[in-house]
């Protein structure tokens, strides 16, 4: 089993390496001429030439990639083109902001989604299940910004309970932060929870139709015991992967929400970078999101290996 885990972690590292390669290819090779892609069509040949030298485009691509990669590994993500600031310095506080928001949402969404998902699975077809189905179907159907704007309209503009923009500072107290970030966190929670709940329900239902669950009922065990002792231990692995998958989704969902609430996180930084075609910023943000994604997926697989009884007790 240890070997499986080591292999998986190694595979994760390898994937991370490929992610860096993909980012490099997508941003510097795919557009053909990066200089004109960044500067747009209005650029004069002189500015283009100067810019090419600034980017080091006269050197072969693999040299530039290796240089970028080694610098990134040493914590040097380059300098933003627009304001000439060190990317890593801007990125670090924004990353902690994003993690705060994502963690905030996850702390509410994960326990609620698992409990409600299991509840609606074991009450299949009953009221709570139908209600959960309708509500989550609604939540996954609407765009993030729709929920966000409704929440703003009701709770910020009309009721005035929460601020409509989530401005946070470095020296803000924790409770203030929790208060200010409440609306984006709730929006994110609703979105992620809906997906997670539906998937949890489906995986528990898949377990509930196994013959050993029927056997447990035929052994005369009460429903509670069948669920707690026979269904849930087997549902753990699928539920873990559901949670990880949705946390990865949450990382991305953050982008739009941050823009709506003008929240100073990585997502907004990336969107800014993208609209200004600020190459180092785009690369750095993509690296952060891609890394988090790979990390969560690897973690999910490792946990799934750990809870699998067949792997825990090999022949």
């Amino acid at each position: 089993m240890l070997r499986l885990i080591i292999t998986r972690v190694f595979l994760g590292c390898l994937t991370l390496l490929v992610v860096t390669l993909l980012i490099f290819v997508a941003t510097e090779i795919l557009p053909g001429d990066v200089a004109s892609a960044v500067l747009g069509q209005g650029a004069t040949p002189d500015t283009l030439a100067a810019f090419r030298i600034e980017l080091g485009l006269d050197r072969p691509a693999y040299v530039r990639y290796l240089e970028w990669l080694t610098n990134a590994l040493q914590g040097d993500l380059g300098v933003a083109m627009t304001n000439k600031r060190d990317v890593i310095e801007t990125l670090t506080p924004r990353l902690s902001n994003t993690l705060f928001l994502a963690g905030y949402a996850a702390a509410i969404a994960v326990p609620m989604a698992i409990v409600l998902g299991v509840l609606s699975a074991i009450n299949e077809g009953k009221f709570i299940d139908r209600a959960a189905n309708v509500l989550t179907l609604g939540a996954i159907s609407v765009p993030e910004f729709f929920i966000a704007y409704i929440l703003i309209l009701v709770f910020a503009t009309n009721l005035g309970w929460f601020p409509s923009l989530s401005t946070v500072y470095a020296d803000m107290g924790l409770w203030d932060k929790i208060y200010v970030v409440a609306l984006p966190a709730v929006t994110l929670t609703l979105l992620v929870m809906a997906h997670m709940l539906r998937m949890t329900r489906a995986s528990v239902l898949a377990i509930m139709s196994q013959p050993y669950i029927e056997m447990a009922f035929l052994k005369g065990l009460p429903r509670r015991r069948v669920i707690l002792r026979h269904a849930l231990p087997n549902a753990a692995a699928p539920i873990i992967s559901v949670v990880a998958l949705n946390l990865a989704y949450l990382i991305v969902g953050v982008v739009v929400i941050e823009v709506v609430f003008v929240y100073p996180g990585v997502g907004q930084y990336m969107v800014d970078g993208v609209t200004k075609r600020d190459l180092p910023v785009i690369q750095a943000c993509a690296l952060v999101f891609g890394g988090a994604f790979v990390l969560l997926n690897t973690l999910a697989d490792v946990l799934a290996i750990l809870v699998n009884p067949r792997l825990r007790h090999p022949r």
Binding site: T15, G138, P143, I282, A286, N297
Partner: protein
């Protein structure tokens, strides 16, 4: 028998879904005939509230909101449909190829797609669109290709289960070629379980395009599109003006209606779980 029965008698939710979806399609097709004002026509002041003259009010530069939404249906629905069609064309072809053409092809394709999926699709799209610019064609190809990775996975997993069945083995033993097996033996059996998936992928791409437009990287002005309209009118919400909610509502209604239809299609084949008798 019961399958045909439920196909002919969709539940109320599915009927509502079908009506709403057809309504938006109707708007998209006949936009110039039913829209009261032009797509880019400035007709009044900024953010006028709903009135008999402007049913949904006006937008940030005084254009009629309702007309913009009706015209927006064209772009928003059209782009999403084009993306989904492209993604299915690529994804299904590749998925069937991976399942039928043997281990090496399968391994190469599957590992490649795994790696492409290791970057979140939104981040991937943002990178590419920022560097290539968001012309309509780039937008459709980018989203179509990125989404085809998901379709590939699904198509492959369905096709793999079909390829191991004996009737495909019979075709191989008979000496049939790869193309024949893909087209005649596997495809007809792989498509029905993917109908619901088509709806889901459409919803996903639809929301995705809307999200990109909202971020300013999707469909570009002067075309009206719902995501972009939310972006243009976003600031009004702080003044208590619900202008961005109308296009957002149109987006929400479309996805909800498609999801209701998909839910019905899925429920036709679904059975209650084994333990439901005891629950």
């Amino acid at each position: 028998m019961s399958i045909h029965h439920s196909l002919r008698n969709p539940p109320l939710s599915a009927k509502i879904g079908i009506v709403i979806f057809l309504f938006f399609i109707f708007c998209a097709v006949f936009a110039p005939l039913i829209a009261p004002y032009g797509e880019a026509e400035s007709v009044g002041k900024t953010w006028i509230g709903p009135s008999a003259e402007f049913w949904l009010g006006t937008d940030n530069i005084g254009r009629d909101m309702l007309s913009r939404i009706i015209y927006g249906a064209r772009m928003t629905l059209g782009v999403a449909a084009a993306c989904t069609l492209l993604s299915f064309l690529i994804g299904v072809t590749m998925g069937l190829l991976a399942a039928v053409a043997g281990k090496t092809v399968d391994q190469v394709l599957s590992r490649f797609i795994d790696l492409m999926l290791s970057i979140p699709i939104l981040v991937f799209a943002l990178m590419i669109l920022s560097m290539l610019g968001s012309s309509l064609l780039t937008l459709v190809i980018t989203i179509g290709v990125l989404d085809s990775f998901r379709v590939f996975r699904l198509a492959r997993s369905i096709a793999v289960n079909i390829v191991v069945t004996e009737f495909v083995e019979v075709a191989r033993l008979r000496g049939e070629g790869l193309w024949w097996i893909m087209r005649r033996e596997v495809l007809p059996n792989a498509l029905p379980p993917m109908i619901a998936e088509f709806g889901l992928r459409f919803c996903f791409n639809f929301l995705f395009v809307a999200g990109l437009s909202f971020l300013g990287l999707g469909i570009q002005p002067p075309f009206a599109d719902w995501g972009g309209m939310v972006r243009e009118n976003g600031r009004s919400i702080a003044f208590g003006i619900p202008a961005p909610l109308w296009p957002a509502l149109a987006i929400a209604l479309t996805t909800i209606s498609v999801n209701m239809i998909v839910d019905w299609i899925l429920s036709i084949n679904a059975r209650p779980s084994g333990a439901s008798a005891e629950m």
